[in-house]
């Protein structure tokens, strides 16, 4: 199972502990997380399931390519980190 962790900046809005989740794609891994934490979905994805503009996902340190379909492949050894992009003020 891939390991997924989330930016600490999410914690002041919603609990988002690291998790070990099944899934062959980023979408499947996130859906597995959302199954136990449904409110988290709208913080990371818009209503069409796309990654929010200022959220980024890295697999083993590399930003994913498909921010709309979240089809980037995962293996059980992968480490996924969900970050927020630098923005705001």
């Amino acid at each position: 199972m891939a390991r997924i962790e989330f930016t600490p900046n999410l914690r002041r809005h919603i609990a988002s502990p690291p998790a070990e989740v099944p899934g062959a794609t980023v979408r499947q891994a996130l859906d597995a997380v959302f199954a136990g934490n449904p409110r988290l979905r709208a913080y990371l994805l818009d209503e069409h399931g796309r990654l929010r503009k200022h959220v980024t996902v890295f697999i083993n340190g590399k930003a994913i390519a498909d921010r709309v379909g979240l089809t980037d492949a995962l293996t059980a050894e992968d480490e996924v980190i969900v970050f927020q992009a630098l923005s705001g003020g």
């Binding site: 913080y43 818009d46 209503e47 796309r50 200022h54 705001g88």
Partner: protein
């Protein structure tokens, strides 16, 4: 009766109770988060706060205990389209409005991009008002200030909550007589100088910065438009220009007197790109004769100011005597006498998006 001020700011929501010493600012709820809209529902006392997280999207929270605690509730969402890459998504909740007295729990939300949503259960769930989303004229709408068009004004007729008026920048004034089942494009008489001359009268691309009605005579709607001040006496179908010779006819905010249909307040600014007080003098203008004349009120307001008052950042209470306004530079003023005199309440707040009065 004591009241409270609600301040939606770039860095949180201030709930300011009124005490013997005046308004108390206190610490904001949602510290650090941009608050884009706030509603105190007069029917049941519920408070609603719309957040626009920089990273994590728009969110809506509700409080049943006067702001002591908040619960995140559903956020309006736009429908899927065949091309997911191009599907519009809600970016910001720009305004919230309570439904009529006889329909408790009904809440309206206007969003960016321009859409109207209705909740019948105090925000537990939301429905897009498809009839407005599907008007053919939507293809003509465009952004004013923001990249996308936005719906910022929702007026519910106190006599009949099925009678609605909404305003869109830049998409004109729309009215419904059947609770939003169907819509009519109003706004005859509005004039868009930012368009080619032969389209200046096109009602579908007007930029009404805000509309406000007189609660006691809601057929009277005031409009601070991008190109001037306008008044309607038929609930938005037709408007007549109000001559505003000085200091400017440009501005964002308008507040309508709750009982006197001929009285309204505006905050003029240098138009278009500049958007600062004319010659640095922050003033409020007031008409008490239905727009035939405007008085310039400046007592207590600065003469060396860069303050801009956003469209939702001027409010009048139910008496029509007490006003409050907040600026993009974090200054907050109040008047206790219909705008004749103003007093600075705070000078170091975050940029203020919206102000409202609520029962204490």
């Amino acid at each position: 009766m004591p009241s409270r001020l609600l301040l939606a700011t770039r860095k949180g929501l201030f709930l300011c109770p009124e005490g013997a010493e005046g308004w108390r600012l206190g610490r904001p709820a949602f510290l650090g988060e941009p608050v884009s809209a706030v509603l105190a529902d007069p029917r049941d006392g519920m408070l609603y706060a719309a957040l626009r997280h920089g990273h994590f999207g728009p969110k809506l929270h509700r409080s049943a205990d006067g702001g002591e605690s908040w619960t995140e509730i559903a956020t309006p969402a736009l429908p899927a389209t065949p091309d997911v890459e191009k599907a519009p998504a809600v970016d910001m909740i720009w305004t919230l409005a309570a439904g009529g007295a006889e329909e408790p729990g009904v809440i309206w939300a206007g969003t960016l991009p321009a859409a109207l949503f209705r909740s019948a259960d105090r925000g537990v769930s939301w429905s897009l008002v498809q009839s407005l989303w599907e008007v053919p004229e939507r293809a003509e709408w465009f952004g004013g200030g923001y990249d996308q068009p936005g719906l910022h004004s929702v007026l519910v007729d106190p006599r009949d909550p099925r009678r609605l008026a909404v305003a869109i920048s830049c998409g004109g004034v729309w009215t419904s007589g059947d609770g939003g089942a169907s819509w009519q494009l109003g706004g005859t008489g509005l004039r868009a100088e930012y368009m080619p001359p032969d389209r200046a009268d096109d009602r579908a691309i007007q930029d009404p910065h805000l509309i406000a009605h007189c609660a006691a005579a809601p057929d009277v709607i005031w409009c601070q438009h991008h190109n001037g001040i306008f008044r309607s006496i038929d609930r938005g179908a037709h408007f007549t220009a109000v001559e505003a010779p000085a200091p400017s006819r440009f501005g964002f905010a308008v507040a309508a007197h709750p009982r006197e249909k001929d009285t309204a307040w505006f905050v003029p600014a240098v138009k278009d790109e500049c958007r600062v007080p004319v010659e640095g003098r922050l003033v409020v203008t007031r008409t008490r004769d239905g727009g035939r004349s405007l008085e310039v009120l400046s007592a207590g307001l600065p003469a060396d100011s860069y303050d801009l008052i956003y469209r939702h950042a001027l409010a009048v209470d139910g008496t029509g005597r007490r006003l409050v306004m907040g600026s993009t530079t974090g200054n907050l003023w109040a008047s206790e006498n219909g705008g004749e005199n103003w007093r600075l309440l705070a000078g170091h707040l975050p940029p203020i998006a919206a102000v409202a009065f609520a029962p204490g």
